[in-house]
């Protein structure tokens, strides 16, 4: 597991690293593209979870027909069974879709016993789990932007920090995300996203290429100051 996710081994003293790499073995499961029933992967209730080794998947949460989405990739931890026995006040639905062939390591009960020899890795996994919340919190800040094209541009640059590849003419995101997926991620409707994407393409800021999405220009941290009056689609929010 540490060979495939070397960042986790970084927390270990160098003298322990080779031994940990040999000890920390985990079973893996490959998941094909498409809808995924996460309950197909059986783990003990007290297991640590699933660690994504490579691939891309999306978790959608819906309430009353509206969905939020979270994109997950290598290094992310999942615990799909977690919380299912609780009865939350709000009725929500959850679904998973694998967007690119994905491999996950099963961090089961036996694996957690192995980690008792390497507490730094256990701590690293807890920190990994917190990364998901941090990314979602940035997503929440993004959806506060009133203009959908601004949200999309911010989302793309946020994803570029993790998955972007720099080349001479900009940063490429190789993941192919449909407008419907993007709509869930920026809390907008699909047609609004399509309009906004066309606007971004016309402005040369985000373009679809054979390789993926090409981002040009600077990240939009200060976009509001720079382009306060730029026209473009805005999401309809009746009560706002």
């Amino acid at each position: 597991m540490l060979e495939e996710d070397p960042d986790l081994a970084e927390a270990l003293p160098a003298a322990l690293r080779a031994g940990a790499v040999a000890d920390c073995l985990a079973k893996t499961v490959s998941i094909a593209e498409g809808n995924w029933r996460s309950t197909d992967v059986r783990l003990e209730h007290d297991a640590i979870g699933l660690l994504v080794l490579n691939g891309l998947l999306i978790r959608r949460v819906g309430i009353d027909g509206r969905f939020g989405a979270e994109l997950l990739g290598a290094g992310d931890l999942l615990r799909p069974w977690h919380g299912e026995d609780e009865a939350p006040a709000l009725l929500a639905t959850t679904g998973w879709r694998v967007l690119e062939p994905t491999r996950v390591a099963l961090l089961d009960r036996a694996f957690s016993w192995t980690l008792s020899r390497y507490p730094q890795i256990a701590g690293g996994l807890v920190e990994r789990a917190l990364v998901r919340a941090r990314n979602l919190a940035v997503g929440m800040a993004i959806v506060h932007q009133p203009r959908v094209e601004v949200r999309l541009r911010m989302l793309f640059w946020h994803m570029a920090s993790r998955w972007g590849h720099v080349r001479a003419d900009g940063v490429v995101l190789r993941h192919r995300l449909t407008h419907a997926v993007l709509a869930d991620m920026v809390a907008a409707r699909r047609p609004t996203v399509s309009t906004a994407m066309a606007e971004l393409a016309r402005a040369g800021l985000v373009s679809a290429t054979d390789e993926g999405w090409l981002l040009r220009g600077e990240p939009p941290g200060e976009l509001r100051d720079v382009e306060p009056n730029e026209a473009g689609p805005a999401e309809t929010r009746p009560a706002s």
């Binding site: 809808n35 029933r37 007290d46 640590i48 979870g49 959608r60 949460v61 819906g62 309430i63 009353d64 509206r66 969905f67 939020g68 989405a69 979270e70 615990r79 977690h82 919380g83 299912e84 609780e86 009865a87 939350p88 006040a89 709000l90 929500a92 639905t93 959850t94 679904g95 957690s112 980690l115 008792s116 507490p119 730094q120 256990a122 701590g123 807890v126 920190e127 789990a129 917190l130 919340a133 979602l136 919190a137 940035v138 997503g139 929440m140 800040a141 959806v143 506060h144 932007q145 601004v150 946020h158 920090s161 940063v171 809390a187 939009p220 941290g221 200060e222 309809t236 929010r237 009560a239």
Partner: protein, 297 residues
């Protein structure tokens, strides 16, 4: 708001203060784990909290009690996350230097708060009880679960619907049932609610007035009183898309299924009201004789 003063006041037996966490340890070893798993405690007073100034970089902390707000800003707009006992935080970890998108993070302590610092010493003790690693990972993922629900809430076109849903979401964690409804004992300003539902403060004020008029959420001393049923219940009661489509929006997916078809599943499906609480009037799924927590962590 004043800057926070903080102090390291004590050591706490973490599993004694967070008994749900202790449940992960087999009963034969629980007492020993409670005794061993101690951590230094940081006490915070209400106010802005300059967490980056503290000399504990990288430490994961567990909220033992209190209430905090984490704000993340991008391009001048802020999202917010409410955190309380049982939540794990890494307050000293801000934006990553490699992040392309400039974001800012701020913390505000809303109620007196105690944080257990789960540093390297704690992690070494923790390793003797491997079940706790999974439990702590679960706790950390709880935050992303709540935020994902929040993301679905802000997707609702109407701000009053978002607020109604948000208050019920908060009720799921902090709510207390009493005969006339569910009390959410949180003092949340309209500005704070605006950040939680991605709306502007004046819009939130108007939407809250609408909720009060409809007797769906009433401001009370020290919090909010929710009457009636949670808004998502509409789906359970009318699973076929026979209900009215609000404001010409696209049709909603039927209850229990997402647009992803067969791969989708219903995670938090609740039984119909009548099955769940047959002794209660359907008007309020949570009404009962005495006050009690809706759900403890």
């Amino acid at each position: 708001m004043s800057r926070n003063t903080f102090s390291f006041t004590e050591h706490a037996q973490v599993l004694l203060e967070d008994p749900d966490l202790a449940q992960a340890v087999p009963s034969a070893r629980r007492s020993e784990a409670i005794r061993e798993c101690t951590a230094e405690v940081l006490t915070l007073h209400p106010g802005e909290w300059p967490s980056a100034a503290l000399p504990a970089a990288g430490t994961v902390t567990l909220v033992l009690e209190g209430l905090l707000l984490r704000r993340v800003g991008a391009g001048g707009c802020f999202g917010a996350e409410l955190l309380g006992s049982g939540d794990l935080l890494q307050p000293w970890r801000g934006a990553h230097p490699a992040d392309a998108l400039a974001t800012s993070t701020g913390w505000r302590v809303l109620e007196p708060t105690r944080l257990a610092l789960l540093g390297p010493t704690f992690t070494r003790r923790l390793a003797r009880y491997p079940q706790l690693t999974g439990a702590l990972v679960g706790r950390a993922l709880d935050r992303s679960r709540q935020l994902a629900i929040n993301m679905a809430i802000v997707h609702q076109p109407r701000v009053d619907t978002r607020l109604h849903m948000l208050l019920w979401q908060l009720a799921g964690r902090w709510g207390r049932v009493r005969p006339d409804g569910v009390v959410v004992p949180l003092r949340l300003t309209h500005s704070l609610l605006a950040e939680l539902v991605a709306a502007r403060r004046p819009t939130v004020s108007r939407a809250l007035a609408l909720l009060a008029e409809g007797r769906r959420a009433l401001p009370i001393e020290g919090g909010w009183l929710l009457c009636g049923v949670p808004p998502g219940e509409l789906l359970a009661l009318a699973p076929v898309a026979a209900r009215a489509q609000p404001r010409g929006e696209e049709p909603a997916a039927p209850a229990g299924r997402t647009e992803h078809g067969d791969g989708a599943r219903q995670a938090h499906r609740r039984p119909p009201l009548a099955d769940r609480r047959p002794e209660r009037p359907a008007a309020n799924a949570y009404a009962s004789g005495g006050e009690r927590a809706v759900r403890s962590r």
